[in-house]
Symmetry: C2
Subunit: 423 residues, 2 copies
Amino acid sequence: MKNFVIKGNACWNENIEQIHCEPNAYLVCEDGVCAGVFHELPERYADLPLTDFGDKLILPGMTDLHVHAPQFAFRGLGMDMELMDWLKTYAFPEEAKYKDLVYADRAYAQFADQLRRSATTRAAVFATLHVPATELLMEKMEASGLISYVGKVNMDRNGPDYLCEKSAQESLEATERWICDTKSKFERTHPILTPRFIPSCTDELMHGIRRLVEKYDLPVQSHLSENFSEIEFVQSLCRDSKFYGDAYDRYGLFGGDHRCIMAHCVHSGEAEIELMRKNGVFAAHSPLSNANLSSGAAPVGKLFREFVNVGLASDIAAGESENLFRSISAAIRASKLRWRMLDQEIYPLTVSQAFYIATVGGGKFFGKVGSFDPGYEFDAIVVDDATIPHPQELDLQQRLERTLYLADDRHLCAKYVAGTRLF
Amino acid sequence: MKNFVIKGNACWNENIEQIHCEPNAYLVCEDGVCAGVFHELPERYADLPLTDFGDKLILPGMTDLHVHAPQFAFRGLGMDMELMDWLKTYAFPEEAKYKDLVYADRAYAQFADQLRRSATTRAAVFATLHVPATELLMEKMEASGLISYVGKVNMDRNGPDYLCEKSAQESLEATERWICDTKSKFERTHPILTPRFIPSCTDELMHGIRRLVEKYDLPVQSHLSENFSEIEFVQSLCRDSKFYGDAYDRYGLFGGDHRCIMAHCVHSGEAEIELMRKNGVFAAHSPLSNANLSSGAAPVGKLFREFVNVGLASDIAAGESENLFRSISAAIRASKLRWRMLDQEIYPLTVSQAFYIATVGGGKFFGKVGSFDPGYEFDAIVVDDATIPHPQELDLQQRLERTLYLADDRHLCAKYVAGTRLF
């Protein structure tokens, strides 16, 4: 059933600056790939099954480029600290619970279910250091219908006793077993190497992860330049590095020959941004998280200008919600406050730019994802905005804009991932 | 039916720094006023009808201290400009439509219905300059069950031809007729004098409004120190004033002998803050609006410290949602970004402080409102947080915190205003 037509009001980014809206359009899916959006259905598709969504909006699915599944349990809680204290006080104790598979089963079921019902069709997910729970999470993500990368976390230093791997060797052996177990096990769910961040990983561990990148041709996800104390700590640990990203790069874990996601990039300077561009590193912009933990606001406008890949991220639980509509408006607001309070050289995000990073921007990590241009994988959400009342006429651009500011899972009435309908 | 008992988990601010949570509590309402929260129901209340809300949360109702009813139609739209251009491009054209009572009827019905279903139990509302539509709005607010002040807007200069009163005299005569028509007409809905802001009002108009304040003993609402261009404009119009608030004060429209709400106060300096404190002016903090229009973030922590009254506001439509839960977390985030990017002398808001301004802080404008302490009017919302899944045990403080970050109208299952149940 990956060949079909859906009909409705299609809205997607023509490019980063412009959103195209096509009323009463026919969106054709062939073998899970978008064959095009048509004002009239071409004769050659006349025999395909058609679902008419009437006056509803059809948008590309969104990519959550950075989300911590085990932190979903405490979203909306405990954001009265900055990063390093927050990790010790809230994140690490919660993550330690995932040693217990009964708890992990209950918690990850809730996470996967909520993601299934959200606007997210793709995700790059952190699990914990525990291999069994990570595999369980992968099973649940697979069952959710989303396409995702899931990472067993590596951390062998500076963690609490109850959440720290005993040695680099132990961590690497567990990781390699996990890779072998899972790399071909699922259709939609794939392993991604996940050193937590430099403060949590010894040199030996980082070098070993680099070897796994090469041996198994895997992507990498980690954290970068989120918080001033963190950045100082990294500098004290990697004295030869010129900046945080350079430290990853010296381990061979900063893109270039592999796909790489770095979450946050709040305080990335010129040289770091230039290296991200050169190496094709993806910045996972997490506006809710960066505000909630008082980290700041990332220079997203500048990342664009310098041709860095940028995707949007919920960063649960430092971000409180999996609902990426919330992150879209939060990204715009954070960029406006940054412009007003910190740096008038970097213009605020437009609605079009924010929609772009939520769809095409992060989708690019997964290939041709996040657009309805021909050749893109068929990820789509169908939005019923009729329950957001208005007394006046609205055109499609306006309906989309309102949706981006106000919608959540209750407004979604259908979702497709690579041509498979989830609901 | 204003004498009853409800049972559930009560959470309210003991003071600005602390939230009190009372599990399985009996909240007693006598003649619309809270008689207390009890662990065991006192014998003297045993005959009152009791509604048991089980494990749900019971919170004080919230006050929206600044909201533009006619802008509700375009919430979530057109926030790509700063204040003065935004007014000309989006707000004024929409407000002009309220000359047409058919349109006003449709639009205000949606506004009042949405407010009825929200966490808001009290509101200070801007209408437009049109008297008939303003009276219609008052009828709808009355029917909604909320207690509110509604203001016919005064504006006799610097507006577009299609939305500007022809003279101060005409504006004042219309306002006085409207006051006489409505001041005793409703049980829950009252007029408030509403000069839009100084750029929109001639000296003659402001002096006339002052006379109406005295003659009818009415409160005042307006805008203050929202945006740099606006502040400069006011200074150019009121050359003798020392600061924006001083200009209002010279007209006799800045509190002191009358209750007064000033929305925004983003850029209020020392002297303005001191005058607000002295005159008991309420700051209506509008964090979503102030970010959406790139105005900045108000120094809320400083306002507290200087003993200025602070309430929370949605400021629809520059704020995109009537859901004050959203404004609570936005207020915390804005204060964190302000702390990080602008001024480390003013600490970020805590959850307790943000909950306080949403309940007691703004409620104070209406009297003893926003708390479950004995003697407070019985405004309450009942929240079913069971649909926000979690795998672990949570205590009441945690459940409240999650609710403040994540809830919306779908989580509300009952609402009381001054002892009257709305749903």
